[in-house]
């Protein structure tokens, strides 16, 4: 697939926005102003960007604890996500949810999640709703390699396959579930091969190549939309930093391994490719960089200025009505 200039710009901007967002979130976290703890997506930006570029606004996404990138890629505003990380009223969940409970139904974002595998079930359930309603919508579940050894993975994939649900299961295999190396967590480290157990397609994807992600996501999503059922995509990738901020991620991973994956940077790969193919000029990228920097600075200022919810609202929304 030869991407258009517009696609290159769009992918580049999407990935850089996620990266700069996460770098800013780390900075605020380290300043001590941010409550809780965060799991950043740096190194994995190509996956959310490439998958969500194939989705429509009313398609659904269910995500994980490492979900900022998914939210941004699906169209949740950067201001609303950063403010949510601050527990502030300007957040997409009004400050009640935080980093692991980002929601925005207006763009089909059905939550990041504090529990590892339930997003698989939520996305399959949203797909079930779409099937029953005959709405033509598709759902995507993002999850890590840590989710695939859990029972919810099996129950979700089995039900989705059995009922031909319009859902795409996107495993972001970054080789470690917290500090547990994947090869210590399972005998079969080829996640895509597990699709055979459900008689659905299982496809390995270069998760650091946004063009590969985009192409394979397109096939899986088209298949789902045609009513042909789910696909399991295994996107091979790596998180540059620890499991969460505060975990240096170096006690269980070698410096060499980290350096090797940093050299496989999805943002740099797209830049190199586009310049090599003379699709865009370095100056074009710089313009996007400057623009993103402004957006992220604005979202940080907005988030820091946004007030904490008033305690008089603490019991609001326990129930609807």
């Amino acid at each position: 697939m030869k991407p258009s200039t517009e696609m290159i710009f769009s992918f580049y901007r999407g990935m850089v926005e996620i990266r700069e967002f996460e770098l800013k979130a780390r900075e605020i976290f380290r300043s001590g102003k941010m409550p809780g703890f965060i799991h950043v997506y740096i190194g994995e930006e190509a996956i959310a960007t490439g998958i969500c570029a194939q989705l429509k606004k009313d398609d659904y996404v269910a995500s994980t604890h490492r979900g900022h990138g998914h939210a941004l890629a699906k169209g949740v505003s950067a201001r609303a996500v950063m403010a949510e990380l601050m527990g502030a009223v300007g957040g997409c969940s009004g400050g009640r949810g935080g980093t692991m409970h980002l929601y925005d139904p207006s763009v089909g974002f059905l939550g990041s999640n504090g529990v590892v595998p339930p997003g698989i079930l939520i996305a399959a359930g949203a797909a079930l709703s779409a099937q029953v309603r005959r709405s033509g919508q598709v759902a995507v579940a993002f999850f890590g390699d840590g989710a695939v050894n859990n029972g919810a993975f099996h129950e979700g994939l089995n039900l989705a396959a059995t009922w031909n649900l319009p859902v795409v299961f996107v495993c972001e295999n970054n080789l470690y579930a917290t500090e547990m190396p994947f090869e210590q967590a399972t005998k079969n480290t080829n996640v895509a091969s597990r699709a055979a157990a459900y008689k659905i397609p299982g496809v390995q994807v270069d998760g650091n190549d946004v063009l590969d992600v985009y192409e394979k996501a397109g096939e899986a999503i088209a298949r789902a939309r045609k009513g042909e059922g789910p696909t399991l995509l295994e996107c091979l990738t790596y998180r540059w930093y620890g499991h969460h901020e505060g975990d240096p991620g170096t006690s269980y991973r070698t410096k060499e391994e980290i350096a090797r994956w940093k050299a496989n940077d999805p943002v740099q790969r797209l830049r190199d490719y586009a310049i090599r193919e003379s699709l865009v000029s370095p100056e074009d990228f710089k313009k996007i960089d400057r623009d993103v920097e402004r957006v992220i600075q604005d979202c940080a200022e907005f988030a820091i200025a946004s007030p904490q919810p008033d305690i008089s609202t603490a019991l609001d929304h326990v129930f609807s009505n």
């Binding site: 409970h101 059905l110 079930l121 079930l128």
Partner: protein, 345 residues
């Protein structure tokens, strides 16, 4: 569709003279059928609820009328089916997930508590979770420790969940119809031993609001709060105690969340005594919560210590002699209430 109104059983009898008698299972089927006809967002899934009509005939005829898309059998995957139900609710459907045996809700409880109960709150009210989780509990015919439990106290413990516990066909229908118009997750707990019981269910449409207890039998000397099938045992015990000169007021809360404490407090203010009859265990149970409410808000109305009659603290046994001893019996209720009045019954 008839006029929808909220009413009591007594009112319906007065206004319509209708005395149609159907079973507890049929009442649930009627509620589902009426609401599924009314609202295309409702669909129903569970183990054996399709063509077979459910282990307890609790879905009889629905598959035939609504088809396999809206009435679908699931494999044995309680967590999966519940998680999918919740996901479908987030996407605008109104699913009913039938766990069948309440014991197996433990397989799905993480999804109900960690996801369903929290999402409306943590999404700042932007997302609704209208899912009904249906299951039947209770010890019946010696089904042993994996098919006999009455697990509902922990749902009452959790903010964001509504919990219904109907004891009569009339209540099954009225409460299930309400559950199917709720915007919140509802845990709807029936009792296996009640499915074949019968009672008055009017043809006229009605809804029963959550959070309204009903006084099953008025009395003067002691308030007996009973849950689910224990309401029937309470009524039998009350009839026997009446002959001994003890007038028992039997209250059925009907829903655990919201919980109607006012009806209980008003009754205790009248009788001065409180007994709670629950098939579940006493420790940290619904009976403990009711006792705490009355101790906090009605202590000075009490003339005697609060007394609880619950399942004895052991796993359900298979042997009928043991299990019938563990689960509160009518004899035990009569004897223990009699003892409060220094009568050996």
């Amino acid at each position: 569709m008839g006029v929808t109104k909220t009413t009591t059983e007594a009112e319906v009898k007065q206004t319509t003279g209708d005395q149609r008698i159907i079973s507890y299972a049929e009442a649930g089927v009627e509620a589902l059928r009426e609401e599924m006809r009314r609202n295309p967002k409702i669909f129903y899934m569970g183990q054996g609820i399709g063509p077979r009509g459910g282990n307890f005939q609790q879905s009889r005829g629905l598959w035939k009328e609504f088809g396999e898309s809206r009435v679908r059998d699931t494999p044995i995957a309680e967590r999966g089916q519940t998680g999918l139900g919740i996901g479908a609710a987030l996407a605008g459907s109104h699913p009913v997930v039938d766990i069948v045996f309440l014991d197996f809700v433990l397989e799905a409880i993480c999804e109900i508590i960690q996801q369903a109960s929290t999402i409306h709150y943590i999404s700042d009210g932007t997302i609704k979770v209208p899912v009904v989780v249906r299951a039947a509990g209770g010890g019946v015919r010696s089904t042993g420790p994996h098919h006999s439990h009455t697990f509902y106290s922990f749902f009452m413990h959790i903010p964001g969940l509504k919990v219904a516990l109907p004891s009569a066909p009339f209540d099954v229908k009225g409460l299930l119809k309400t559950a199917l118009r709720e915007e919140n997750p509802v845990v709807f707990i029936e009792h296996k031993g009640l499915y074949n019981t019968t009672g008055h269910v009017p043809e006229e449409e009605y809804l029963i609001p959550f959070g309204k207890a009903v006084i099953r039998r008025p009395g003067e000397h002691v308030t007996l709060v009973a849950l689910s099938l224990m309401v029937n045992k309470a009524m039998q015990a009350a009839a026997r105690l009446e002959k001994e000169g003890i007038s028992v007021e039997v209250i059925d809360p009907r829903t655990l969340a919201p919980f109607d404490k006012d009806t209980i407090l008003a009754s205790v203010a009248k009788t001065g005594r409180l007994v709670i009859l629950d098939e579940a265990y006493a420790a940290c149970g619904v009976s403990a919560e009711i006792a705490a409410i009355v101790a906090s808000e009605g202590l000075f109305e009490l003339d005697a210590p609060i007394h609880r009659i619950c399942c004895l603290p052991a796993p359900h046994a298979f042997s009928p002699s043991l299990d019938n001893y563990l689960i509160p019996s009518v004899d035990r209720v009569v004897s223990e209430i009699g003892a409060m009045f220094e009568k050996k019954l």
